[in-house]
């Protein structure tokens, strides 16, 4: 059995990517399981998806605990402790990461010794589709690594995108994107998983606690500032202060309190708080806010 884990953020098309991979695997004559996993649905929040592919019926259920292939659509997840995508990696796991960084930088920074492919799929997606949803690029690259034919990928891709209501012209662009990804990726030797790690769970008897103890209580105030959200977007708004008229529109319309007004009356962006909704850029009356790609987010 081959186990594929895909990691990304809400809005990047990871759920659809896993459906495309699953569909392509099924059309290629395999037994397939494919399931997205996310908490509350939210753009920018981490999501994962799991695909199991096998020649024989699949009896396993639930999350994948050791992956043959790990696909990471957003490199900022590597810095996350809670949502770290490397948790299911073993020595034989093949890893593919969408990043603008170099292979050696990723290897040293995250201490990865596995077979590793690093591709800037976001840039490729932007160049071809003029949008920054890398799902299809991720799916196509994954399928190529798994050794599927392009005809099969294209068919699955068209079917999945049509089902979620994507326009014909956008589907065509995405097919072009998929082809481009397919041609620049090589097959990978992906090991099949034969032994499945099974964790034994002890049986726990629930104990009654008074609601004062057993309900969640937060006694701190305003501590969510400790949670940095800058990684939610690939872009950040940058203000050109030369043309800024201190009108405060950007400050007023920021849903995330990411702006402050400095002593001279100029707006200042807190990039750890900014989720990159870009309302400030759109609303700025003098158009002095531009978007810059975040490099080391």
């Amino acid at each position: 059995m081959i186990t594929v884990s895909l990691f990304g953020r809400g809005g990047q098309g990871i759920k659809t990517a896993s459906h495309i991979v699953g569909d392509a695997a099924f059309t290629s004559g395999n037994h397939v399981q494919d399931q997205p996993l996310y908490g509350a649905e939210r753009r920018g929040a981490p999501i994962s998806a799991y695909v199991r592919i096998s020649q024989t019926p699949i009896l396993e259920r639930g999350k994948i605990t050791n992956s043959s292939l790990v696909v990471i659509a957003d490199d900022s997840l590597l810095d996350s402790i809670v949502d770290n995508p490397l948790q299911t990696v073993t020595d034989s796991t093949v890893i593919m990461i969408n990043s603008s960084k170099g292979v050696s930088e990723i290897r040293t920074r995250y201490n990865i010794n596995n077979v590793l492919a690093v591709l800037d799929l976001t840039k490729l997606t932007q160049d071809i589709t003029h949008k920054s949803i890398p799902g299809v690029a991720v799916a196509s690259t994954t399928c190529k690594l798994l050794g599927f034919e392009f005809d099969v990928i294209e068919k699955s891709l068209r079917a999945e995108l049509k089902e979620i209501g994507i326009h014909q012209e956008d589907i065509s662009r995405n097919v072009e994107l998929a082809r481009s990804c397919f041609n620049q990726t090589t097959h990978a030797k992906i090991e099949t998983i034969t032994k499945i790690k099974i964790k034994e769970s002890p049986i726990i008897d629930p104990i009654y606690h008074h609601p004062q103890i057993s309900t969640c209580t937060i006694t701190a105030t305003g501590n969510s500032r400790l949670r940095e959200r800058g990684a939610w977007s690939n872009f950040k708004p940058v203000i050109d202060y030369e043309g800024c008229t201190k009108c405060m529109i950007c400050y007023v319309y920021c849903p995330d309190s990411a702006f402050t007004i400095d002593v001279k009356g100029f707006p200042v962006v807190d990039y750890d708080a900014c989720k990159g909704c870009n309302i400030c850029k759109t609303e700025c009356p003098t158009k002095v806010i531009s978007l810059v790609r975040r490099e080391n987010k």
Binding site: G11, R42, I218, S224, R227, S233
Partner: protein, 306 residues
């Protein structure tokens, strides 16, 4: 009453909500809550019915500098009554100083306000509970993936009302919560919009002079649900008002006054911005439905006293 919000720049600079929440990028509702709390100030307890704004505080983190009390979807107004009564009793018994008194703010989505929680809201208004009530109306159950609510507009697509050959999305009309509330004769009811922040701040300020229910319905564009880019939220909210779909108004002791009465743009301009109305334009234009939507808006405005 003299307003302290004459221009947008009069916005209070103190943030009552710090960054770092799990709310979606570009959430119209989050912006409304941020501004609302700014105007109310720091002496507030927010009673939050389950909904998108659940994600404001995810244990063990909270963006609030003031208190936040999380309750089930149907029961926020009832919980607010409990909080109000407790505060009143403690002040009366000199257990807490009256300067530490808190304003009670109920925060709910449209699913709770116009559906699941309508009964408890009706009861709280009828009892004359002294509280603020803010509905962020994103016109569906957005937190769980955009299923239709009683507030979803006619002919819009939601997860549970996909347009088909025989159905144009939601087949029922949006519930008129403003009129339902107004029928209770509360001292203050208003509609607000994130694109009209000055209007919103003035309304909150004006409502504060009344004791009793102070109710607000806020147009709250939802980027993933409505199918808009997150940077377009204010533009879309602005179009909702300028096409006349979202009338900005208030009712003081039942008497209605519109706070935006300018030349309206065609409803179509608003519909075209959102994927949830896309089936009305593609593959072929559905003039019958578009005209119905326009007529409904025209009929509303022809009944408005100039």
């Amino acid at each position: 009453m003299e307003t302290r919000f004459r221009t947008l720049k009069d916005i209070p600079l103190e943030e009552e909500l710090v960054p770092g929440t799990m709310i979606c990028a570009g959430c119209g509702g989050a912006l409304l809550v941020r501004i609302f709390e700014k105007v109310l100030g720091s002496n507030v307890i927010t009673v939050n019915a389950a909904g998108c704004m659940t994600m404001l505080s995810v244990f063990p983190f909270t963006p609030f500098k003031s208190s936040w009390f999380y309750v089930a979807m149907a029961s926020a107004p009832a919980a607010a009554q409990g909080v109000r009564d407790a505060l009143d009793i403690l002040i009366k018994k000199n257990k807490i100083d009256s300067k530490d008194n808190l304003k009670v703010l109920v925060l709910t989505g449209d699913g709770a306000a116009s559906g699941i929680g309508l009964q408890s809201t009706s009861a709280a208004i009828q009892r004359g509970l002294d509280f603020y009530y803010l509905v962020y109306d994103n016109e569906a159950f957005s937190n769980t993936g955009f299923q239709a609510s009683e507030s979803s507009p006619f002919a819009s697509a939601t997860k549970t009302t996909s347009p088909t050959e025989t159905h144009e999305g939601v087949m029922s009309q949006k519930k008129d919560l403003f009129e339902i509330w107004r029928a209770h004769k509360p001292p203050y009811v208003a509609t607000i919009s994130p694109a009209f922040i000055k209007d919103m701040m003035q309304k909150i300020e004006r409502s504060s002079q009344f004791k009793g229910p102070k109710l607000f319905i806020a147009n709250s564009p939802c980027p993933p649900g409505w199918g808009i880019e997150s940077d377009q939220v204010i533009r879309v909210a602005n179009l909702a008002v300028e096409t006349g779909i979202w009338p900005l108004k208030e009712a003081i002791n039942g008497e209605v006054r519109h706070t935006w009465m300018q030349k309206r743009r065609p409803v179509e301009e608003y519909l075209k911005t959102q994927e949830r109305f896309e089936h009305l334009f593609k593959p072929t234009r559905n003039d019958e439905i578009i005209n119905q939507l326009q007529k409904r808006v025209d009929d509303y405005w022809s009944s408005v006293k100039k």
